[in-house]
């Protein structure tokens, strides 16, 4: 008996000691990061127009509701007890249709009123949800199932078929012609808000409650308040998601609920969160949601004719299952790579992806006049000949004078990228060798460098863009 207790004690000690080794490393980010860069590379190679102001702008508009819905789900899933809020999609739909109807009746005009209304409705619903979970003590998944059915029913009552008009100021957001739209601002503010929240003691309580509610209760965490707080945050995100969704479609749609629920749950799991509670983060959820967007985007660039939606569904399911199975490998990876750092991994892959983006946007443009049919094929979504399909993404053109000029032009970028990787590795090693085990300064340095570089590149390509005839918006 004492052996067992001793073993448990040792196990607990090693468990407690482990996180200190890898800093705040989260190996569950490995799969989403890899998938993200794979998909990003493929997307850019298939359709370089993604990397224009228009392309990124519309990507942000389309992906933001999804990201925010995933955040909403994340906040309540962390709270544990298997709180997979199936009703998040219908809730977004509910805010959407009531917003449209109230606007149609001339009640909600002011932007502040609209924001206040959306967030208040989301938070109020989640508050009721939390109260039911706490005091009626029914399994949360049943509460959410109940809410799903009730809300998707009432949505159809409020607005029987898609229609209505969003406020004028809001429908302009949905055009997606520029990167720096208000939608991006909402996304950034929501993300920053969550990241600030993770610094609080409240968040620590939340994670403790999510992974072991009884332990939290016995150690004096006010679990009722924590649960209500988690749901309130979730409701706020759901309200914001509804606003961006309204901006995206510029009207009301009562039947999007099912889709959003399923997609948001999928994105959350793809992002490495645990549906059992206690584990999940904004970075992973963001990547998961963006991955789903990219899957749809990449598949849209292939032309499968009439079976397009079936292929999308097939690929969607397969990638979902495959990435879940990959998470089973994580214990092995953890055993062999002690100091895995998602940030370092992210930086390395992002440098590679940057190279791919440069290749796709610059090389293709230069080659475009010579191979006009090929570039048009992407635009018109005609069938692509098999040889193009397999060869062209990785084809390297013969080196000409222009190429040489381009290469000398690109040399500083390559050098600075390499430098970046070296700095990142150096900083990483330095941090892991030092006493203070925080990687935050390094993250700040690396990310800001990346952002600067990205902004510079964006400016370059936007200057070059008018000169290149091949860059057109691919209809999605």
């Amino acid at each position: 008996m004492s052996d067992v207790t001793a073993n448990i004690a040792i196990g607990a000690e090693t468990k407690a000691a482990e996180p200190a080794h890898g800093g705040r490393a989260n190996p569950f980010l490995l799969v989403p990061i890899t998938l993200f860069f794979l998909l990003l590379g493929l997307a850019v190679l298939r359709s370089p127009s993604l990397m224009t102001s228009n392309g990124i702008g519309s990507a942000i508009i389309v992906a933001t509701p999804l990201v925010l819905a995933t955040y909403a789900l994340m906040a309540s899933v962390i709270a544990g007890r298997g709180t997979v809020d199936l009703s998040v999609g219908p809730l977004i739909g509910f805010v959407n249709v009531t917003l449209i109807q109230l606007h149609g009746a001339g009640i909600l005009e002011n932007p502040f009123a609209v924001f206040g209304y959306a967030i208040a409705v989301g938070a109020l619903y989640q508050f009721l949800f939390a109260l039911v979970v706490i005091y009626v003590r029914v399994q949360p998944i049943i509460v959410s199932l109940s809410g799903y059915l009730a809300l998707s029913g009432i949505n159809l009552v409020i607005l029987p078929r898609p229609g209505g008009l969003a406020p004028q100021w809001m429908s302009e957001w949905g055009l997606g012609t520029t990167i720096f739209s208000p939608v991006l601002l909402i996304l950034v503010l929501a993300t920053i808000g969550w990241l600030l929240f993770t610094q609080t003691a409240f968040f620590t309580h939340l994670r403790l409650m999510g992974s072991d509610e009884r332990a939290a209760y016995t150690s004096g965490v006010p679990i009722y308040i924590v649960r209500i707080g988690a749901h309130l945050i979730s409701g706020c995100f759901a309200g914001l998601a509804a606003i961006t969704f309204t901006a995206l479609i510029s009207s009301g749609d009562p039947s999007q609920g099912t889709t959003y629920t399923l997609i948001a749950v999928t994105a959350l799991v793809l992002g490495g969160a645990s549906l059992a509670g206690g584990r999940g983060g904004a970075f992973g959820s963001f990547l998961g949601a963006v991955n789903l967007y990219l899957i749809t985007f990449v598949l849209a660039t292939f032309n499968f004719g009439a079976v397009q939606s079936f292929v999308t569904s097939l690929a969607y399911g397969t990638i979902l299952v495959a990435s879940l199975l990959l998470t089973l490998l994580i214990p092995f990876i953890q055993r062999h790579i002690r100091n895995f750092s998602p940030v370092l991994y992210f930086v390395t892959l992002s440098v590679i992806a940057l190279g791919v983006i440069l290749h796709a946007t610059n090389d293709y443009q230069n080659r475009a006049p010579a191979e006009a049919p090929a570039s048009e094929a992407v635009v018109r979504l005609e069938p692509i000949a098999p040889q193009d399909l397999y060869v062209s993404p990785l084809e390297v053109p013969a080196v000409g004078e222009e190429e040489k000029a381009l290469r000398s032009f690109a040399a500083p970028f390559v050098l600075s990228s390499l430098l970046l990787v070296v700095i990142a590795v150096f900083v990483r090693i330095a941090v892991s060798q030092s006493d203070r085990r925080t990687i935050a300064p390094a993250v700040v340095v690396v990310v800001s460098a990346l952002v600067l570089l990205g902004a510079y590149l964006m400016r370059q390509s936007s200057v070059e863009a008018p000169a290149a005839p091949a860059v057109q918006e691919a209809p999605l």
């Binding site: 199936l86 399994q139 049943i142 199932l145 009552v157 209760y217 799991v269 079936f310 299952v321 879940l324």
Partner: protein, 459 residues
Amino acid sequence: MSMIMQTQTPKLGLPATIIGLAAGIILTAIGVIFGFIQGLSVQVIILSAIATLAAFTWGWRFVLGQFVSEGPPLAEGEISEARKAWLQFRPAIYGLIIILLAFLALSLTIEGFFNVWNVISLLILLGIIVLTRTLGRQFQENRSAFIGIMVLSGLFSIGAMNIDGFASSINIKSMLLFASFLGIASVGQTLVALLGGLDLSIPFIIGAANVGLLYLIGLGVPPWLAVIIVLVIGILLGVINGFLSYRLQGQALIVTLGTGFAISGGVQILTSIGTAYSGNVFGQVPPWLSNLAAMNGSTFGLPFPPVIAIWAALALILILGMRYTLYGRYLYALGVNRTSAKRVMISELAYWVMMYAISGFFAAMTGSLLLGWSGGGFIGVGDQYLFLTLAAVVVGGTSLLGGQGGYGFTVIGVLVLQVLSSFLIGIGLDFEWQQFIFGLLILPMVALYARSPHIRTQI
């Protein structure tokens, strides 16, 4: 005997009695006023007023009496009398107030709502609550089944009183027909839930089987062979589901959803290869398959479709099998405690995969039967079963955490959902209102029996 006598004459405190009387009188007064407004005959009004008052007072005394503890008197001056009454009778008071408020609101808003039949319906509802709170205590094991049967009979009698033709043989037949589709689709969900898993791929397999069967028949495969092929493929898909989700049991929800997407997409791609009509398949459904599931089918000359008989036989086999065979007992053993089940050499993997295989088989079977019912293939035919199977399992009383419940409970759940939906259609509600009310009713129905204990008792 003396115990029963004691519980039948409970002593209520003074405040509780006064509140009860006041509420009853108010209710009766409302009834009388509405009766006069609607110009009913005086006899009916007097009769219903007396009935309302008597039933309410009796219900009040009887329900609240259950909460009176016969312990030693409390120390004086601790809590005031009113506060104590409030603390003791809180749940019952909440329930009664909510029902009465809903009744009042409906009477005020809907013209002609307040009639004798609706008052009787209200009394039946109150009776259900009273009975579940009193007699339900005798059924520690099968409380949810008891409550389910109470709700079922209450709903059915309310429906039969309020709706013309609700209790006619045609309506009962159609209710049973749709219940058997849902019931067969929920077999897998129940078994998987007993192990603590979920299978969201059921609707996709139903749709895929529906389209795939018609496609095979259209290709010229003999129909009996096509059905067998479809069922075998259903089992195979279930086995794949089981193996994929075995290591990811916490995420079974999402794994099966993923395989569901893949199956649905894959089957549609397969069936649209070489045809101009993507996603649409054409073929002649054989008469025996139509007879199996159509409304006008007959079983050995008896005028009801064989699928009802199939469902009944299936339910019997499953209920008896899970109660008396070793397989059934092992299933419960695994659901309750994995570790101890493993110690007595029960293979978790084998059972997990087997249950998913059964789930795939019955989903494919539902898809095939639905083809016989509708006569045309449609991939979205199973969509509504995504949450309905789950709802049937939950309303029936099978715990989603595993180890508690059984197929008999799910049968009750299926019937409750079917009668409820038939009732809502009968009173003229659209699909969206039905869904709304479904959603609102699942929660209290589950809350009647499936409340988890307070956290402080779990430590």
